[in-house]
């Protein structure tokens, strides 16, 4: 007996022995039990570690015990089993710690922990099973050992849950057994073989194999909670939290999913399964479950129930990845096994924590929970965001690979499923996160435990933190060689020995150029965690973007786009941070603001620096989501509504972008002989268009920008929207070919945004809204230019610098204007300083109009010259200046008027304003100086920005042209002329066509709810169908069994006798 025979057996036996020892431990000996628990888990963990290292060094592990003739009990360590074993062992350890904390001082602990150990032993055995029969044995053992855990509480709900669980799993087990027996008769000992067992066996009846496959999947699908078989999972949330974690993350559902993987890959073999036409069946089932689970989760108020439905949805990703039957999708599915485990266990830990500590069970009770339990909710947030698939958390990796894999396997519809699921995920997780962090506690906690030093017992706190951290790491370091992803890749390599493409091109490395730029902001962020340092950090924040500037200066590789954007970003963040110092000096929520300010900054700079897709999309997401609290900052009704609009569009944009980038990656790396399809470009346009305020996708802009604090709106409007542009420049196939189908709508949208935005903006009463519409209008010009580039690829070379230059110009000008809004008080006061201050407002305004001698004129000139091949475009540019001048005029006019607070604005901000008014009448230099700096930049950037080609040809005075002047004058005239008319018109609501979207959204919601309800009704019907049938048959049999009572056994006996005679003699 050498080590390679003993080790797998020892790993399986470890938890079993621990379980038995615990079972024998008297109830009152808590310490002994704890020691047994922890040592058991630790020993198993270290044995698994040993196994891992040994397998890595090429030793074969196999324990084989004869079970029946021709059937052995086989425990074997291959890469797939190791993946699952390590996950179980690792999560078991933390769940044990958690459970010890959770069950402190309750009854029947020996029983609980004993079965807990046995359960994990069964899981590990299942993972190491080397053939289908061994798998079945441990699979059923798992069912049995889970039962006492679910029933542990012993109340009516948990008994019912346990019963339901059994009904499902027993039937599933029976089906599985039937399938396995049948298969065994056909194919002999069912050892798992990579690349499939059945391939090598000749003369198998295809129909039989198909039926067997359905039997097997039905059996496994019960545990994997595939659609019609998932009913037990939501019910069993009545179990204690550690059990739920175990059920959802470590053992049970994973066992089902793992079994499906085994059956498809190691028994049937992927190609063979596809041959039999079974993958599509499985994929459709899994896809439906994904969507279905999400829809059901939406309407659950019970937190654990919501999480349970989320599990239903998420676990099917694994099955989906398996069923898509392509190597990349396989990786996605397998890695989700681990990732979902990490994230879901975190969520359940957190749910358990709040239930245990505060008695909070419902989503509706969670308002303001973040203040009471910040660490727990932090972990929750990370995990929830990961579930949605927000990079760089683990969930994204899975979805990414699934998406690319789906395309690779010619199943683009899966992408749609992923998108819908992600949106739904966001729809049920984001409200929770919002409630937790950004709402005030509205009622006392149902059952508050006495406050400890930490927010709850450390044993309850540590596990979720660790697992959340792991989920984060697993996503961030996905490309590291020991990550779950690399592991899954290894497994997939074995399963698809011949057809695995080179995956390095889609690795998620999160690479950025000059990462050192981000070191300072990140370290500041880290320092914010320490209470005492916060004041210092806030002082230091303006320094954070400066390394970016340095990097831009040092950048020598000639990538002007990046250099320009980096310059713009760094400078404006610097200005914004400086401005914020003064603007938010007295704000209560300063800390939160700066936290997200920093995060957004990191995201923004990171996006600019990013070198490949993963880092781009990661930082992009970071920036987009971190901006949410900035918009929400005042927490007025308007702010809430704006922020919620914003986040919806962000999610929409992210999802579209995800699909687009998946497509982009696939077509640029794997589809050598296919032409990129048009939808990828379209999705890119839409995805980034949301950020870049593309007309019809712009509606969040005029709502969000005005409500944010001034520095935040400045940055939003000036920098962050430009990231959309950056995305376009990076990923669109600009300059390569013409995509007229998209170019025309793009130009049309750009033009209409430029004009209609201006006209709509003129009627606004809030200067910030006016500025926002101006942004839309200006971005319309950019969009139109991009459209132009799509139409005329040849012009791209000339157009790119012009667009970048235009973007910079707009960034500086618009931020100055926004900052000026904050100076409104000073502008109204008639001091010596006032004219200079007005100058600060006028310079960028004029620049935007593009009056001669301004940088705006430069920018427009550059655009004009780049688009000279189509004169109509130049005309459009000139005409757009009329709109801009209208807007600027309106802005100046509004700045002159005494600012009337809209009634709906919350009183608090008004008080804040009045407080400021009374407290100091001296000019706030803290605000003025950054504004001035910004204005200076607005004028001067022309001179220090990178050497754009056109700068060489043109001088400032070359912009002196009538074409640049007359639109402004016309605009001014119109403004003056229409003064009366406009005054009579009530300002229309900011966000113009948002109403339409809202209507559509409401409609969708209604349909969704209706659908959800009807599904819910149907499926509760389905899950209770069994019970009903049972009851009905029970009563039927009850009635009939009265007649069945054999009152005349003697007669019966002679009848049997006659029967025997008949069968024998005749």
């Amino acid at each position: 007996m050498s080590i390679n025979v003993l080790l797998p057996a020892m790993i399986v036996l470890g938890p079993f022995i621990a379980g038995l020892a615990i079972m024998a431990t008297p109830e009152h000996k808590a310490t002994l039990r704890r020691i047994l628990n922890i040592t058991g888990a630790l020993i198993t963990l270290s044995l698994i570690g040993l196994l891992l290292t040994s397998v890595d060094s090429g030793i074969d592990f196999e324990t084989r015990l004869p079970l029946l003739p021709n059937i052995d009990l086989v425990l074997r360590a291959d890469s797939l089993s190791l993946l699952f074993v390590s996950l179980s062992g690792f999560l078991w350890f933390f769940t044990t710690i958690y459970a010890i904390g959770y069950f402190k001082g309750t009854a029947n602990r020996s029983r609980f922990f004993a079965f807990f150990s046995l359960c994990v032993g069964a899981t590990i055995g299942l993972a190491l099973a080397g053939n289908l029969v061994t798998f079945l044995i441990f699979y059923e053992l798992l069912t049995l050992t889970t039962y006492p855990l679910i029933a542990h509480k012993g109340n009516a709900a948990s008994i019912k849950a346990a019963k339901t669980y059994l009904v499902y799993t027993m039937i599933g087990g029976a089906l599985l057994l039937a399938g396995i027996v049948w298969l065994k008769v056909l194919a002999g000992p069912l050892d798992f073989t990579t690349a499939g067992l059945l391939v090598d066996i000749p003369n198998l009846d295809r129909t039989h194999l198909q039926i067997i496959f359905v039997l097997l999947i039905a059996g496994l699908g019960v545990k994997a909670a595939l659609f019609p078989l998932h009913g037990w999972l939501p019910v069993s949330m009545a179990a204690p939290a550690p059990v739920s974690s175990l059920l959802h993350a470590v053992a049970v559902v994973k066992a089902g999913a793992f079994g499906i993987v085994r059956v498809v890959y190691d028994i049937y073999g992927v190609e063979f399964t596809r041959d039999l036409g079974l993958t599509i069946f499985l994929a459709a089932l899994a896809a439906f479950t994904v969507v279905y689970g999400s829809i059901r989760a939406l309407s659950q108020d019970d937190l654990k129930k919501r999480l349970a439905y989320s599990t239903v949805s998420q676990v099917s990703y694994i099955a989906l990845g398996t069923a898509i039957a392509g190597p990349i999708a396989t990786i996605g599915g397998l890695v989700h096994l681990v990732h979902q485990g990490l994230m879901k266990i975190t969520l359940f830990f957190c749910a358990g924590n709040i239930a245990e500590t505060l008695g909070v069970h419902k989503v509706s009770q969670m308002n303001g929970l973040g203040k009471r339990m910040p660490l727990t909710m932090g972990a929750f947030t990370i995990a929830a965001l990961g579930m949605i698939g927000i990079p760089p958390i683990a969930g994204f990796v899975s979805k990414w690979y699934l998406g690319v894999g789906a395309l690779e396997a010619q199943a683009p519809w899966v992408l749609g499923v992923l998108a819908i699921s992600s949106i739904l995920n966001a729809a049920y997780f984001l409200p929770i996160i919002n409630a937790v962090w950004f709402k005030e506690q509205d009622s006392p906690w149902p059952k508050e435990q006495p406050r400890l030093k930490l927010e709850t017992h450390w044993m309850l706190l540590l596990p979720p933190l660790v697992t959340a951290f792991c989920a984060l790491l697993a996503g961030l370091l996905a490309s590291v060689s020991v990550s779950p992803l690399s592991w899954s890749t290894l497994i997939a390599t074995q399963e698809y020995r011949s057809v695995l493409p080179d995956l390095s091109s889609m690795a998620l490395t999160y690479r950025t150029s000059s990462f050192w730029v981000l070191v300072l902001p990140i370290s500041l962020l880290a320092m914010m965690a320490i209470k005492n340092c916060r004041a210092l950090v806030i002082r230091l924040i303006p320094l954070a973007p400066l390394p970016g500037l340095l990097a831009a200066v040092l950048m020598a590789d000639g990538d002007i786009t990046k250099q320009a954007f980096l310059t713009l970003t760094a400078l404006l963040w610097f200005v914004g941070a400086l401005y914020a110092q003064a603007y938010l000096a007295n704000d209560e929520k300063r800390n939160r603001f700066y936290l997200f300010f920093l995060l957004t900054m990191i995201g923004n700079i990171g996006v600019v620096l990013s070198e490949e897709i993963s880092s781009f999309i990661g930082f992009f997401a970071l920036m987009s989501f971190s901006a949410y609290p900035l918009i929400l900052h005042s927490e007025s009704d308007e702010a809430r509504s704006a922020a919620s609009t914003y986040i919806k569009w962000v999610v929409f944009g992210e999802v579209i972008l995800f699909a687009a980038l998946v497509g982009n990656t696939y077509y640029s790396n794997f589809a050598r002989d296919e032409v990129p399809v048009i939808w990828v470009t379209a999705f890119l346009l839409i995805g980034f268009g949301v950020k870049a305020g593309l007309a019809t996708l712009h509606v969040w802009l005029p709502k969000a920008h005005p409500v944010a604090p001034v520095p935040a709106s400045a940055l939003l409007s000036a920098v962050m929207v430009k990231v959309g542009l950056l995305g376009w420049i990076r990923f669109l196939p600009l300059g390569d070919e013409s995509i007229l189908v998209l170019a025309q709508p793009m130009m049309l949208l750009g033009c209409s945004a430029a004009f209609l935005g201006a006209i709509y903006g003129v009627f606004q009463n809030n200067p910030k809204t006016v500025l926002a519409y101006s942004t839309i209008s200006q971005l319309g010009i950019i969009s139109a230019s991009i459209g132009f580039a799509l139409a005329f690829p040849n012009s791209w070379e000339a157009l790119l610098p012009a667009i970048v230059f235009f973007a910079m110009h707009h960034g500086f000008a618009k931020s100055t204007l926004f900052l000026c809004v904050g100076l409104k008080k000073e502008l109204e006061q008639k001091t010596r300083l006032t004219p200079f201050l007005w100058l600060l407002a006028l310079i960028p305004a004029l620049s935007l109009i593009g009056l001669p001698l301004t940088s705006g004129a430069f920018a427009k000139e550059a655009l004009k010259s780049a688009t000279s091949s189509w004169p109509l475009f130049s005309t459009f540019l000139v005409l757009s200046a009329v709109g801009t001048s209208l807007l600027m005029g309106r802005f100046i006019q509004l700045m002159q008027q005494p600012f009337t607070q809209p009634q709906s604005t919350q009183k608090r901000s008004a008080q804040l304003l009045s407080m400021q008014k009374t407290s100091d009448s001296v000019p706030r230099w803290g605000l003025i100086l950054p504004t001035a700096l910004c204005a200076l930049l607005c004028v001067g950037y022309v001179y220090f920005t990178p050497a754009f080609e056109f700068k060489i040809h043109q001088s400032v005075f070359s912009t002196m042209s009538w074409a640049a002047l007359w639109p402004g004058l016309i605009g001014l005239m119109i403004l003056i002329a229409s003064f009366k008319v406009r005054a009579a018109i009530v300002a229309p609501a900011a966000g113009d066509i948002l109403i339409i979207y809202q209507k559509i959204g409401l409609l969708c919601q209604k349909i969704g709810q209706h659908l959800g309800h009807s599904i819910a009704r149907k499926s509760t019907g389905l899950s209770s169908y069994f019970y009903q049938t049972l009851e009905r048959s029970q009563s039927l049999l009850n009635n009939s069994s009265k007649h069945w009572v054999i009152e005349t056994p003697g007669t019966v006996m002679v009848v049997v006798l006659v029967l025997l005679f008949y069968t024998f003699v005749s």
Binding site: I1046, E1047, T1048, P1049, G1050, T1051, M1053, V1054, V1055, L1057, V1058, F1061, V1065
Partner: protein
């Protein structure tokens, strides 16, 4: 059939008429088939007769039935005695009284007929039982017949109520067990001496068989007597009550 344990005399037939008919037809059919078997198929020519005849001389007895019972198929007989013992154990009271095997008690109202019958008949029956036992070796007869006769004598004696037998006394139990015990002892001893279970040495076969039969006779007699007494209520004695009181 046995669904209800009906204790009512002359109670109604508890199976309904239909099943009565079914049963009747079935049983008749069954009977016909059995008869057909008997009529159409010849019996095996001689059965085991030739074998018995061939080995009779070495069996120690001359009566072939006794030879079969106590030699060739003695194992069956041994188990048969065990069957009897089972029933006795099952019906014996649970309380072991310490009184002796037989006691005389004063009975006030003598039943003259019974008493005289007992006086006259009992010794004769005893005598006849002894003869039957002895004769079993050569003619029909043997342990069971003798035992049954003996039991009859006992019943006769105890019916009067003068003699009270304590079947649970150690003596009675020893007597009941002695048949089986002796059988087993002889059987096992023969393994030791002859190398096979119940393999009588030819010279001692008759003696050993007689020994076994004597033990068996005693056991059978007292067993049957105890079975009888477990069933009846002896008037005025309260016998049955004491019998059942242990349970």
């Amino acid at each position: 059939m046995f669904n209800q344990i009906d204790l009512e005399y002359n109670g109604p037939v508890n199976d309904p008429k239909a099943s009565w008919l079914i049963t009747l037809c079935s049983v008749l059919g069954f009977l016909i088939v059995l008869t057909l078997v008997l009529l159409n198929y010849d019996a095996h020519n001689a059965g085991l007769r030739p074998y018995v005849e061939g080995s009779l001389s070495s069996s120690g007895v001359t009566n072939p039935v006794t030879a079969v019972l106590l030699n060739f198929r003695a194992y069956d007989t041994l188990l048969e005695i065990a069957v009897l013992l089972i029933v006795v154990i099952a019906v014996l009271p649970l309380r072991n009284s310490k009184t002796s095997l037989v006691r005389c008690i004063e009975v006030t109202n003598h039943d003259l007929v019974l008493t005289s019958l007992q006086r006259w008949l009992a010794p004769a029956v005893l005598m006849f039982a002894g003869y039957l036992l002895w004769a079993g070796a050569t003619q029909p007869g043997g342990a069971f017949q003798a035992g049954a006769l003996l039991a009859g004598a006992c019943v006769l004696m105890f019916q009067t109520g003068v003699y009270r037998v304590n079947y649970t006394s150690i003596m009675a139990r020893s007597l009941m067990a002695c048949g089986l015990a002796m059988f087993i002892a002889v059987g096992l001893a023969l393994i030791w001496f002859e190398g096979s279970l119940l393999k009588y040495p030819q010279d001692y076969a008759g003696v050993l068989i007689l020994l076994i039969e004597s033990g068996a006779t005693l056991s059978i007699a007292i067993c049957l007597a105890s079975l009888y007494s477990s069933l009846i209520d002896i008037p005025g004695t309260g016998h049955a009550a004491t019998f059942e009181s242990g349970s």
